[in-house]
Amino acid sequence: MSVHSYSDRRRPASLSHKLSEVNWRLVVLITLIACAGFMMLYSAAGGSFSPWAARQMARFVVGFFILVAVACVDLRVWMGLAYPAYAFSLVLLVAVEVAGRVGLGAQRWIELGPLALQPSELMKIALVLALARYLHGLVPGEVSKPLKLFVPLAMIAVPVVLVLMQPNLGTATLLALCGALLLFLAGLSWYWIVPTLSAVALAVPIAWQFVLHDYQKQRVMTFLDPHTDALGAGWNITQAKIALGSGGIVGKGFLLGTQSRLNFLPEKETDFIFTMIGEEFGFLGSMVLLAMFALVLYYGIQIAMKARSQFGRLLAMGITVNFFLYIMINGLMVMGLIPVVGIPMPLISYGGSAMMTVMFGFGLLMSVHVHRGIAVPKRSSGMI
């Protein structure tokens, strides 16, 4: 064991030392991406900081401090908080389901004093934490044992079902995929994976028939043929593609996107903000953004690989995979490759909940990085 880590020292590392251990290159990269988001929000408002850009910047600043603060907290503390956080998120999800019975279509928000919280956002972090903690305690062979496997599957299934009931297909998909990939990374046997994938393939038609809501089916149908309802539900997809495509190689220029400025683009400040980048900065701008995202993922994977503890690795990969799924689902959606589901582009789309979740997630990722040398005991309750 040549690795020198904090655990080898008698005294806990100082705050300043921890700060120096933060991967500032990643922080700068995240900030750059967020800045691209500010620019697009400024442009979406027709060249104005209000109503979106200024508030988003304020949120990012808060998120930035959350990131640094979370990064400085010992990984074992996070491990100790994993189950309570999961339980708390679950309670909120149930609460939203119960309290939100009355009201409009989808119930996704809960009022906690002055805060409007989206419990499904919390769950994205909590599920990763909880799964990482549970899988941390298992040896490779154990993961595939049915009794041991039942627990993580239930941990994934319960929130997924609750979120589906809201109904929020996008987030449910994201949670399910994220959980499944963590099980995969934890060493789930291929004997489980292959039959499950086959079963899923079989289940799709059944789900179509019995599980999906009418509006969800409608989204899929219009996705398959946007022109059937070009002014209704197909509008989003059609206009998004026009916005992206009309950007060409170098784009129409900052503040010059006609699709967004003239309101042809729906939800341009939230889910469809990537199309604004495509329209105003073209293929080159889009590729630069994708490259920055890829670099973030690269850092995430690197942090995971260097972590000494299984908890750290799974946590880092969980966060990274989560971030990746955001990009994948949003990207495929705005480019017209999958049906429209409500998943924002991380760091770019306007929205407080998502920004906080993402920054908190990066905080955890950074915590793994800062505490990469720590050997985490199977149970870390002593740290709290």
Binding site: L262, F264, L297, L332
Partner: protein, 635 residues
């Protein structure tokens, strides 16, 4: 710590295996992520580079909207530059729903207190407002009076969302007088939109009105002008953000008619209570100086849109204001046709001016007696006397000698039985029968008796007043003139065919003209009582009466009932053809008054006064206001 260390070796061993598995799978997953990024990049490449141009076009289509601008319609003038159709200001009031306080209904109710509006409009306005975006103005009322409009503008500060507007609308100052010549304009019908083969975008301009009848219809494409366009940038809701480019339209061509409005007005005023058709024509060129159809309709009302009541009044009127009588009304020409019989027979050599036939009051052919209008007969009659007294027996015998085939051919040469080819639509051909038609239609051969009846312009023969005017002009000038209404479009003179001589011998023509002079100037002539007394202005002509009922044998015995004693519908039609001055004809004229065959001969009186006015005004001698271009000047 010691305990921890001691326990660590198996843990590290366990973790090594776990780490190796984790690393493998992480790398596998990274590969998957890379693939997804590849898909995203590939899709962007396809959308932005491969299909970029197509999407750029779609984006431009999205944002740029072409708003057509309707140019002013070309004006119409008479030969002396009197405007007959132009534009007048149309005071309108609109409501912009999004600018109202308390909704469209409230704004409407407030507006109704200022200007008179009826409840039916309210429903339409609310429906229109609901059907469009809230920034689209909705028309509440147009053609407001100046008083209402002024009051509205005064109250405007208290009427948020109400928008006064001044538009232009087609205006016909002479209304009914020229309704059948000019026609009218009205909204484009779906059929007209479907027939728009050239794809003139003007037809799609909201509020565009196209010519529906008369000159407005025939020359609609020239008069309407060319649409201007305003390229505007619109947002997703259709609201105009800014104007990018404006191309003004091209004003429609101005039309100069050959009509003299003063003569037209005079004749219309005299005939307005009758159901009549009349025309005055230049003998040499065929230019129509007046073309009157009474009663007319108000084309301004058509432009605004007729109310059901107005439409009902027009269609139920027994004087049929919607029929263009000089073109589409056809009547048995009656005795006016005797000029045709006479000229054809003279030219064919069937008779000479001195050929004498006897009239005993009736002419018997086989077992059937053909009556003269004069009980007791005219005695020995030559051509001049025959025409002057309009002796039926004389012309029965001329027709018998001439035969139907030659008579039919002569009538056609004089312009009967075929459309005259006047510029405006709706003309009917009239009818000249022949033996082939009889055989084909009735499966019977032509009877000699029918030739006799044809010789006095009765039977199957039908002619329009315009054809009778052409007949008068051809008799007067001996030239094959055709009627024209339009002199020039813009600065371009309308092409006119070269007028050829009609081909009847000059002697024959002179003999008929001489007899027509006698009709209107010599005692015993059927029009003598209504002659023009000034010898310099004297007219020549031929009277006619067309029966609209069968006169029974019993009535012949006990005296034919006078027209005055019959209901209007059963009275004879009164006809007259004439020309003036008698010695050197310049003006030809035809008048048909339906059921106007009265002893006072109003049709002859009108012809007399119209020809007098035309000569006194010296319509053909005065300088015209035609804009003649250099190409025409050299001709």
């Amino acid at each position: 710590m010691r305990r921890l260390r001691r326990r660590s070796p198996p843990k590290v061993a366990k973790d090594k295996g776990r780490y190796a598995s984790f690393t493998r799978r992480t790398l596998l997953l990274s590969g998957g992520m890379t693939a997804i990024f590849g898909v995203l990049a590939g899709r962007l490449y396809q959308l932005q580079i491969v299909d970029g141009d197509s999407y750029l076009t779609q984006a431009e289509d999205n944002r740029i909207s072409l708003r057509l601008l309707a140019p002013p319609r070309g004006r119409i003038f008479d030969r002396f530059g009197v405007p007959l159709a132009g534009s007048r200001r149309n005071y309108r009031v609109l409501v912009v729903p999004e600018q109202t306080r308390g909704g469209v209904a409230a704004a409407y109710d407030a507006l109704a207190k200022v200007i008179p509006l009826n409840e039916r409009v309210r429903g339409r306005v609310l429906k229109d407002a609901a059907a469009h975006k809230s920034f689209m103005p909705v028309l509440v009322a147009d053609n407001l009076s100046w008083d209402d409009f002024a009051r509205l503008n005064l109250e405007l500060p208290y009427l948020p969302g109400v928008q006064p507007d001044v538009g232009e609308t087609r205006d016909y100052p002479y209304a009914e007088e020229l309704s059948h010549v000019l026609g009218y304009v009205a909204a484009v019908s779906p059929e007209e939109k479907a027939q728009n083969a050239e794809g003139d975008q003007l037809l799609d301009v909201p509020g565009f009105r196209m010519g529906k009848r008369g000159v407005e219809k025939t020359f609609d494409k020239d008069i309407r002008g060319q649409a201007g366009a305003s390229r505007v940038e619109v947002n997703a809701y259709g609201r105009v953000i800014r104007e990018l480019e404006r191309k003004p339209g091209q004003v429609g061509e101005e039309v100069y008619l050959t009509i003299d409005q003063e003569l037209q007005s005079f004749m219309y005023e005299r005939l307005k209570d009758d159901s009549a058709g009349a025309a005055v024509m230049d003998v040499e060129t065929g230019d129509l100086l007046a073309l009157v159809s009474t009663p007319g309709f108000d084309p301004n009302a058509f432009n605004v849109g007729l109310t059901p009541d107005q439409w009902g009044a027009l269609t139920e009127n027994d004087h049929k204001p919607l029929i263009n009588k000089p073109l589409a009304g056809f009547y048995p020409p009656g005795s006016t046709f005797k000029t045709v019989t006479a000229l054809t027979a003279l030219d064919a050599g069937a008779i000479t001016p001195d050929t004498i036939f006897h009239c005993s009051g009736q002419f018997t052919l086989g077992s059937h007696a053909f009556h003269c209008w004069k009980k007791g007969g005219h005695g020995a009659v030559n051509l001049r006397q025959g025409l002057k007294a309009s002796c039926d027996c004389y012309f029965y015998q001329v027709a018998l000698k001439l035969g139907i085939d030659a008579l039919q051919a002569g009538a056609r040469r004089l312009g009967l039985g075929a459309p005259t080819g006047i510029e405006i639509p709706g003309e009917r051909a009239g009818f000249i029968p022949d033996r082939y038609w009889k055989q084909a239609t009735f499966k019977e051969s032509w009877q000699l008796g029918e030739t006799l009846v044809a010789g006095i312009g009765q039977g199957y023969i039908l002619a329009t007043p315009l054809q009778l005017c052409v007949l008068a002009a051809r008799l007067a000038g001996g030239m094959q003139v055709t009627p024209h209404l339009v002199h020039s479009l813009g600065a371009q003179k309308q092409p006119r065919p070269v007028v050829e001589p009609i081909g009847f011998s000059p002697e024959a023509l002179a003999a008929v003209r001489d007899a027509m002079v006698a009709v209107a100037n010599e005692p015993g002539g059927t029009a003598f009582a209504w002659r023009i007394t000034d010898p310099a202005l004297a007219m020549a002509g031929k009277t006619g009466t067309a029966q609209v009922r069968v006169i029974s044998e019993e009535e012949r015995l006990h005296g034919i009932r006078s027209n005055e004693s019959l209901p209007w519908k059963l009275r004879d039609h009164g006809l007259f053809i004439g020309f003036a001055p008698a010695d050197k004809p310049r003006y030809a004229c035809a008048v048909v008054i339906e059921h106007g065959g009265l002893n006072a001969h109003p049709q002859v009186q009108l012809a007399r006064d119209a020809l007098t006015l035309a000569q006194k005004r010296d319509i053909l001698g005065r300088p015209t206001a035609y804009p003649v271009n250099s190409a025409d000047a050299s001709l």
